[in-house]
């Protein structure tokens, strides 16, 4: 498992996540795209720690931060989805056009 292969794997997961986050209409599916993007970022962070700085555990902390970001994004995202659905009855992005200029 060379560093390049692992980084390409992370890039592939990130690319699929970008596609999902941009193309999906349902709020929940957009969040899945975001999670896949963080997934790719975690792969890259752990790869660089393992292949360039494995003598020190400090490099793993970036992955810890990414996991925190993932949990925060999911929790706040679900709260927003719940709120928007309750008030505007919207579950897809096309129903929230009120802010469009």
């Amino acid at each position: 498992m060379s560093r390049e292969v692992l980084l390409v794997l992370g890039a592939a997961l990130f690319g699929i996540g970008v596609y999902g986050a941009l193309s999906q209409q349902s709020f929940v599916m957009i969040m899945m795209g975001l999670e896949l993007m963080v997934n790719g970022a975690i792969v890259a962070a752990v790869t660089l720690w393992s292949r360039a700085a494995a003598h020190s555990p400090k490099g793993q902390l970036l992955a810890v931060v990414f996991m925190t970001v993932m949990a925060v994004e999911a929790a706040i995202g679900f709260a927003l989805v719940t709120n928007v659905f309750r008030i505007r009855r919207a579950d897809i992005t096309e129903k929230l056009k009120a802010l469009r200029g």
Binding site: M1, V5, L6, V8, L9, A11, A12, L13, G15, I16, G17, V18, Y19, L22, S23, Q24, Q25, S26, F27, V28, M29, M32, L36, N39, G40, V43, A44, V46, L48, W49, S50, R51, A52, A53, A54, H55, Q60, L61, A63, V64, V65, M67, T68, A71, V72, A74, A75, I76, F78, A79, V81, N83, F85, R86, I87, R88, D91, I92, E94, A98
Partner: protein, 177 residues
């Protein structure tokens, strides 16, 4: 053996990540995403980050189960009996995804990184534990406080009632004013 397992996991994580957006049921999409994360978690264990890999798997098992419940609540297409393809700006999204992949993969292949140092040796998990509760405690504690603030914020956003009655008391649709 190790390398073959890695390739299987790498392909599995990409394929299941792709299936997330190609399945007809949102619940299945949640579990495809979980499969992708589990594969990545095992790859992390292979890369000597045992603790983080297992934490990722445990976290995702819980999160995706909750996500599946949300999926059922918001699902327009129960049980995936009908074809589901709910996308907009599809072609532009594909282009953006491919561009992101090509750009990042190019960086991963052609950029110059620091020369590999020693492999992780000894008790990586114990070292990480001492780091988290030692020199890097600020990062660890900041993550904890951020998660606490997230919990409070999520409850405040999602609550049905606010301090002065209903949560949408006084709010109106944009454009009605």
């Amino acid at each position: 053996m190790r390398v073959a397992l890695f390739w299987m996991l790498a392909v599995a994580s990409i394929v299941s990540g792709w299936r997330v957006f190609r399945t007809d049921s949102m619940v299945r999409a949640a579990y495809w995403l979980m499969a992708s994360f589990v594969a990545v978690g095992i790859i992390m264990v292979q890369l000597d980050a045992e603790f983080l890999g297992l934490v990722l798997i445990l976290m995702m098992a819980g999160e995706m189960t909750i996500m599946a419940v949300f999926m059922v609540m918001f699902m327009m297409n129960p049980a995936g009996l009908n074809p589901m393809m709910m996308v907009h700006q599809h072609r532009a999204s594909i282009v953006a995804g491919v561009l992101a992949f090509v750009g990042l993969a190019g960086v991963g292949i052609f950029a110059r990184f620091p020369e590999p140092t020693l492999r992780a040796s000894g008790q990586v998990t114990a070292q990480l534990g001492h780091e988290l509760l030692g020199d890097s405690m600020l990062i660890f504690e900041t993550a904890g406080v951020a998660l606490l603030a997230t919990m409070i914020g999520a409850l405040a956003i999602a609550g049905a009632t606010g301090r002065f009655g209903s949560a949408d008391e006084g709010s109106q649709e944009p454009g009605e004013a």
